[in-house]
């Protein structure tokens, strides 16, 4: 008994089955008060399911949950919240158009005679922010703040006075280094107050910065829990993917493009005021050009201006040697240029439609509405893509919204590849993707390149760019500041270029 009360939370023998999938199989997770407990695993390993069971969003099939040594039964997130278990989800679940005050107090505003007491409400909001030492104007709409601040506000909302367990589901996914440091400072502060913190992330570096212990899930089973000091990186990564791996570092060994060939994309002075300063960019068949830069440096904007999703207001663009006067995603598609967006949900997938329909979309758009691809051909192409990219799904008719993040990413990639592109614009192709799939995508990029595809890869992970790029365009403050090629492409050179030019 004394032993069990050393833990704040114990989840013992937890199992959960979804139709056709064993999501959790006899999983144990023990959280100590005042620790940051990293929960790692590939996409679909069962991290989200485990957390949802803990917070009452999902019902478990088997197992027990103890809170401070006492068995508890949570059937909803609000019950969990009352017991002191709070969660901040990956996607901020707040309302951007409402003020920070309202977001912080929604549903719990102090009332006077049944009417919301705005004075007390504002005080409550300020109190909540004060705990995180956050000093911002609470009357401004939430949406006017950066994602990082929104994330902190979400944490402020989740924290009650009696919160003893805080789950952070990929809180740093869209934060830059500085913002992450700010978040970690707050996490350490909360830890000092004895709160048990579950930290879910894909960033291995961050785990070693902040976590005390690490638990690794794979295919619904708990592979193990170790103290950070006892778990070197290589061992951690092999625990996650279940096999020994070679590092993805190093440079591509061969180049596949010809200097004198007609470029697929040739932009001159292309730009859009207040979005991205005019830039030159050339992309040839069989070449990978990286777009490097910090968060907000204009990586996505560069790719979107090339595609025509953001209309350029200066410069010219030639696709396959032909000047395009009215650039649009449609014109780009007709010339074999396709884009895989970073934000899958907002810009990539049509959640209601099936995997097959999502995969066919660009090819169908290219052929035109009158020239429908037959059902048989659709099924054949979708099946080919599902097996080529190893998309984990029982069949192609499943609504795409039900897939896990990494598989959704692959569906968007499949959509682009099926349309037989000449150039692929990839925006953060490995964001939100686990280590195994990460290496898969990196080698896929090189393979596509060897088959004569031109690729523009925007990424915040410089190692990834070093591993795949023939040239790297460096961006800073919405401006292209440098271009590095060949052996000059190293992590250090990219960082120098961002810092000094």
């Amino acid at each position: 008994m004394a032993e069990s009360s050393a833990y704040r939370v114990e989840m013992l023998g937890v199992s959960k089955t979804f139709p056709g999938v064993r999501a959790l199989d006899d999983v144990n997770l023990q959280l100590r008060p005042g620790e940051v407990h990293a929960l790692l695993g590939e996409n679909g390993a069962g991290k989200s399911t485990l957390i949802k069971v803990l917070t009452g969003a999902l019902k478990r099939d088997k197992g027990t949950i103890l809170l401070d040594g006492k068995e508890i039964e949570v059937s909803s997130t609000s019950e969990a919240q009352e017991l002191g278990i709070s969660t901040v989800y990956q996607e901020v679940n707040l309302i951007p158009t409402l003020s920070v005050t309202k977001n912080l107090t929604l549903g719990r505003q102090p009332r006077k005679f049944g009417i919301v007491d705005w004075k007390a409400t504002k005080k409550l909001a300020l109190q909540r922010l004060d705990r995180l030492k956050l000093d911002i104007d609470v009357e401004r709409p939430l949406g006017s703040y950066s994602v990082a601040i929104q994330q902190l506000i979400a944490i402020a909302r989740a924290l009650e006075d009696d919160t003893s367990v805080l789950v952070l589901d990929e809180p740093t996914a869209s934060l830059d280094a500085e913002e992450t440091a700010l978040l970690f400072q707050i996490v350490r502060d909360l830890k000092a107050h004895g709160i048990a913190i579950v930290f879910i992330t894909h960033f291995i570096d961050q785990v070693y910065q902040i976590a005390d212990r690490i638990s690794v899930l794979r295919n619904g089973r708990m592979v193990g829990t170790e103290a950070v000091a006892d778990l070197p990186r290589l061992k951690l990564i092999s625990m996650m993917i279940g096999r020994e791996i070679e590092g993805i570092g190093g440079r591509p060994t061969a180049s596949y493009f010809k200097e004198d060939s007609v470029p697929v994309i040739e932009a001159e002075g292309l730009g859009r005021s207040r979005t991205i300063a005019p830039f030159d960019l050339t992309l040839r068949a069989g070449e990978v050009v990286g777009l490097a830069g910090l968060l907000g440096s204009g990586r996505t904007e560069t790719a979107k201006v090339v595609l025509g999703a953001i209309k350029p207001d200066s410069g010219t663009i030639k696709l396959n040697g032909k000047v395009i006067s009215r650039l649009s995603p449609r014109a780009s598609l007709a010339n074999g240029i396709v884009f895989c967006p970073e934000d899958r949900k907002a810009e990539g997938l049509i959640g209601e439609l099936s995997i097959r329909e999502n995969i066919m979309l660009s090819l169908q758009a290219k052929r035109g509405w009158l020239n429908r691809i037959s059902r048989a051909e659709q099924e054949k192409l979708a099946a080919e893509m599902i097996s080529a990219l190893a998309i984990a799904t029982p069949d192609a008719e499943k609504p795409v919204g039900q897939l896990s993040g990494g598989n959704q990413q692959k569906v968007i990639l499949a959509r682009s590849l099926v349309s037989q592109p000449k150039a692929l614009l990839l925006d953060e192709p490995t964001r939100g993707i686990d280590v195994g799939a990460h290496a898969e995508i990196v080698s896929l990029i090189r393979r596509l390149c060897s088959e004569g595809l031109a690729l523009l890869v925007a990424s915040s992970e410089f190692d990834e760019l070093v591993a795949v790029s023939d040239r790297v365009a460096v961006l800073r403050d919405r401006k292209k500041v440098d271009e590095i090629s060949g052996e000059q492409i190293t992590r250090e050179n990219i960082i120098n270029s961002i810092a000094h030019r």
Binding site: D61, L307, A309, P329, R330, S332, L333, A334, V338, F339, P341, A346, E347, G348, L349, I350, G351, E352, L353, E357, M360, L361, S362, Q364, A365, K366, R367, G368, W369, L370, N371, R372, I373, R415, S419
Partner: protein
């Protein structure tokens, strides 16, 4: 405990999984309600199912349901396409008024009726194009954009009536009335007309890629745009399709009463059309088109209306009973509600 109970009952009846699959199909609940209405009819008004042949033509309440349901169903399938793009078309009733007025005006003016038929369709399509222009080109929210024509349309109809002095706008037309109230063999012509339009629309949506494009634009406009789909053109064409279907409905409705009555023709038909789409499982959030299910929805509504009329209840009850039945269907379709009822049931058992 609960799961064990469930699994044991499953082994007892081997058809339980099939039954569950059937229950999950979106056609089930509208069909169940339709069946209930028909059973109640069989008890209250046995004559509901009587069929007879007069002058070589099929008569009876059931035939009447199909007959009267044709125009609302036409409007509803056009609405289903618009709703598929996450839009809405409030102007359909007013489009009927405008088209009706144009028909009466041109017949008085002595145009060939064959030309008037196409002119009427053209006017319907033009009204749809106006809506499409506001929504797709000017980016006005669909509910406001179509509200403009909804408000203006009936006034425009009255103005057109005034062109020939505001005298009696009634007319006779062998061609148009033949399409509306005539019959081919025992089958009313308008049913054949409807079948043809439905097949045309189904072909347009499902044998070309238009349906997929409409659904992707409705499901996620941003993503559709980036995937290279001409979102604006697709939205525009949805309203044109709605105008086309409504144009046909206007021809049928106007020729039926052989007069132009802009004030009250097809009153509230936009609401019935939206209801038919929703009963058919369509979501106002867009992203899916269920043409066949929409017809089922329109059929449920028309059966209700005809039944209430035949039951001899005062017509004042009409709208209330209609509202209650629609509420029941929507409750049955709601997963939350079904879950609540099931758990109540389960606890007692």
């Amino acid at each position: 405990m609960n799961t064990q109970d469930l699994s044991s009952s499953e082994t007892k009846s081997s058809f339980a999984p099939t039954l569950r699959a059937m229950m999950a199909h979106r056609a089930v609940w509208p069909l169940v309600v339709l069946a209930i209405i028909l059973i109640v009819n069989a008890i209250v008004v046995p004559s509901f199912f009587s069929l007879s042949i007069n002058n070589g033509r099929l008569f009876g309440p059931i035939v009447d349901v199909f007959y009267r349901g044709t125009a609302p169903a036409l409007i509803a399938i056009g609405m289903a396409v618009v709703i598929g793009t996450k839009g809405i078309d409030l102007s359909v009733g007013s489009i009927v008024a405008v088209v009706g007025a144009v028909i009466a005006w041109r017949i008085k003016a002595g145009d060939p009726h064959f030309v008037i038929l196409w002119l009427a369709l053209f006017v319907g399509i033009a009204c749809g194009a106006w809506n499409g222009f506001l929504v797709a080109v000017l980016d006005i929210q669909p509910i406001i954009a179509t509200l403009i024509l909804m408000v203006a349309g009936r006034g425009i109809g009255l103005l057109i009536n005034l062109i020939d002095g505001g005298t009696d706008p009634s007319f006779t037309s062998e061609l148009l009335q033949g399409l509306s109230v005539g019959s081919i063999g025992p089958i009313p012509t308008r049913l054949i007309l409807f079948a043809a339009i439905f097949l045309f629309l189904w072909f347009l949506l499902r044998r070309t890629a238009l349906g997929l494009f409409v659904e992707s634009v409705g499901g996620n406009p941003e993503a559709a745009q980036i995937a290279g789909i001409p979102s604006r053109l697709i939205k525009f064409s949805a309203y044109v399709i709605s105008g086309f279907c409504t144009g046909w409905a206007a021809i049928i409705l106007t020729a039926d009463v052989h007069t132009s009555d802009p004030v009250s023709v097809a009153l509230f038909s936009e609401l019935d059309a939206i209801l038919a789409v929703v009963i058919g499982g369509g979501s106002l959030m867009g992203g899916r088109i269920y043409l066949g299910m929409t017809i089922l929805g329109a059929l449920v509504i028309q059966t209700m209306v005809t039944s209430i009329l035949m039951s001899g209840w005062p017509p004042e009850y009409n709208l209330i009973i209609k509202a209650v039945l629609v509420l029941i269907i929507l409750l049955l379709q709601s997963n939350n509600f079904r879950g609540a009822v099931m758990s109540l049931f389960g606890r007692r058992a």
